[in-house]
């Protein structure tokens, strides 16, 4: 279907990038590097899947980075500075993400406010809250809470491979994405969500409670952003409220769109989104690994590759449809 064709595009781009990088740097294909890539891709994959859900219902979520900051800063703040127990703090911050998503969804759905504005305000508010609550201080686990941090630090060695081990974050991504795929492709809810995203009134005429699906999508997005924020802070160990997660919403949305989501709504592939997230991580990695690319133009390189990919994807599509025309 259309989805599969779109995935071919990003996938080729990822493949080309990987081949080029491994040709240019002998370190790319080391097991240590691959493991790092897998871990980073998993973390960004989780938040990108959330972004994809909102895009599928025709909205946008700009608050992802700030939700990451808020949840990511609150967790160590609660645990370390206030001695809250893990069993209270973790469900608390994850629930907070869901509640924020619920607010976004209700504002968009009930009051018909523009998603861009609602989540832009979210971006501003949660960042400010994170800074205010922590008093602009860096928060971190101070090398404690090893048990909780093992959630992202555990490695599952692969029998037969010397150095390589599967990071636990990748297992988490697999679980999240499997659930997302089942939801989107195999349940009626997923189909209703897709219909709502493309043509809300058609879906409503079909007796679908479209409002609920819109709210649900925002909850999934903010919920996964919160979950991702927790994973990020567990991985990194500390966060500055002023910049933790800055711009991550743009990376998440870019990954989702690269992976085949249309901002007009109604289209999206979970696998594509993960490939999109992987592409961004491989690009950043490549820039550090390849000697002759100055580090300070790394964003320029990422941008150039994405746009080149989008252009060639489009060119490719035109050639295909042209050929189809010629030989009916």
């Amino acid at each position: 279907m259309n989805g599969a064709k779109k995935i071919v595009g990003v996938f080729s781009l990822l493949l080309v990038t990987c081949v080029a990088t491994s040709a240019l740097s002998p370190y790319f294909l080391t097991s240590y590097n691959l493991e790092n890539l897998l871990r980073r891709t998993s973390l960004f994959g989780v938040i990108s899947i959330g972004a994809a859900f909102v895009i599928i219902v025709g909205g946008i979520d700009l608050s992802i980075g700030s939700v990451i900051a808020l949840v990511g800063c609150l967790l160590p703040w609660l645990l370390v500075e206030h001695g809250v127990s893990v069993w209270m703090a973790v469900p608390g911050v994850l629930g907070l993400g869901l509640v924020l998503g619920l607010c976004h969804g209700l504002l968009v759905q009930r009051l018909r406010l523009q998603p861009f504005i609602v989540t832009l305000c979210g971006l501003l508010i949660y960042r400010g809250l994170a800074r205010g609550i922590t008093g602009d201080q860096t928060v971190g686990f101070q090398n404690e809470f090893k048990g909780l941090r093992s959630l992202v630090k555990t490695r599952f060695p692969l029998p037969g491979f010397e150095d390589f081990a599967i990071p636990s974050t990748f297992v988490i991504l697999l679980i999240v994405s499997t659930l997302a795929i089942i939801f989107l492709r195999f349940t009626v809810w997923g189909r209703h969500l897709l219909a709502t995203g493309r043509n809300e009134s058609a879906a409503r005429h079909g007796g679908i409670r479209t409002g609920r699906y819109i709210v649900l999508a925002y909850m999934i997005s903010a919920g996964l952003a919160g979950f991702g924020g927790m994973l990020f802070i567990l991985d990194v160990g500390s966060a500055q409220p002023a910049d933790f997660g800055n711009f991550y919403e743009l990376f998440a949305i870019a990954a989702a769109v690269l992976g085949g989501c249309s901002l007009r709504g109604g289209e999206g592939s979970v696998v594509g989104v993960i490939i999109g997230a992987a592409l961004m991580q491989v690009l950043q990695n490549a820039i550090t690994l390849i000697d002759w690319i100055p580090d300070n133009i790394q964003y320029a390189v990422i941008g150039a590759v994405i746009i080149a990919g989008a252009i060639s994807d489009e060119g490719f599509r035109r050639i295909v449809s042209h050929r189809r025309l010629r030989s009916p």
């Binding site: 009626v188 189909r191 043509n199 409503r204 005429h205 679908i208």
Partner: protein, 506 residues
Amino acid sequence: MILQARNIVKRFPGVLALDGVDLDVSAGEILAVVGENGAGKSTLMKILAGDLRPDEGQLLIDGSPLRLRSPREAMLAGVSLIHQELSLADNLDVGANILLGREPRIGPFLRRDAARAEANVALMSAGLDIDPAASVADLGMGSRQLVEIAKALSTKARVLIMDEPTSSLTAVEADRLFETIERLRDQGTAIIYISHRLGEIERLADRVEVLRDGKHVGSLVGSEITRDKIVSRMVGRDLDRTRGLRGEVDLEFGTNPPMLEVRGLRTSRFPESSIDLIVRRGEIVAMAGLVGAGRTELLRAIFGIDRPVAGLISVEGEDVRVEHPADAAAAGIAFVPEDRKADGLLLEEPIGENMTLPNLSVHARVGVIRHRRRERAVARELIHQMDVRPAEPDLIAGGLSGGNQQKVAVGRWVGCEPRVFLLDEPTRGVDVAAKAEIHVLLDRLARSGVAILAASSEMEELLAVSDRVIVMHEGRIAGDLARHEVSEAAIMRLATGGDREGATSR
């Protein structure tokens, strides 16, 4: 009586759309609701189907009161509506659209096989021969309408409401639909049927209720249901039939210079068939064909919306390079598209601005609009000329009834004084009176020398206002019937792939 509506009142900003209307329908009955554009038919139907909430009045089902807060609740109560404006999600396939909201499932999981089978049955009953896995985005208006019909038929509703289901269909598809409707009636379904094609009402209806300006103004039953009676109730006066409008035109078009000439045009959908056609000065050429025959495709190519694979277009003997609609417009070609909602109007803009949009530069010097007053006067004049109701230039176009929107879509080109006028379903959704007005308008334009090429699915229209009928079949011109050769049978034969000889030898 299954469904009753009592004293329904509905207001929109500035409009009283329904003013205390009563309506009821019984099992095994086909009730036709007629009325001019903007009479309130669609509004009433939306209220019956839970899509709108009435300001006053109440609904009863099986004699007990019913409060509908969403289409979902109406569906649960057994009421199903085919909307006048198409509503399909074009990211899903045909099957998914047909079963949307009613998917066969086990728990939350889809049952794909069952869904496919069910969709197939529904498509069959609507007479649409396509795969349920086909993409809706690839379908034309007519096919989409058939998908909507399949969707409604498969709900197995007790009350089935159809708001202009045939507006994009030709006689063949419509006939098949009528058979289905009659079968459903015989099985005990209550059917409410709305159409501006009064022939269909004559054929189908057991009872007719007439609305005018949001009020119920009369009923017709049984043998009273005749075209002329319906018209006089609807409009409040008798109306001359437009049939034979062009009969008195005594021009020898053969000697007129060609205004529009198309040579070797091949569209991307049908690249193997090359189309040649000529429309002469002052001539009205109609295009007939079944759903998907390629009429829309051809008109779009001439106007530069889709780029044709090959072909030449000339206007008044001069070749024009049409790469963009702006080129076509500059060469004096005008085009009224089939889907006025998506392509024809700026629904959120006032009527007046819609009217003057294609011809704004007339009111400007070096880009700056200097004559706002005159622009408004022109808009007012066009609104008057097209008899748009309400005649309020500042009203948002989206608030007009379907037929009045169509008048705006046609009217915005009239001000440009085109040399060639292309129309795709010029009177889709337009009431009899307005239809006659549009026909008169086309006639007048033709007399002033404009060449008109109009695709239409409505047989009456084809017969009434054309000097010549081009019949298309699967992307090629299957036949070209001069005025004296035109007949319903001849058109049908060519449209379904029969040959010309058979048609004329009758």
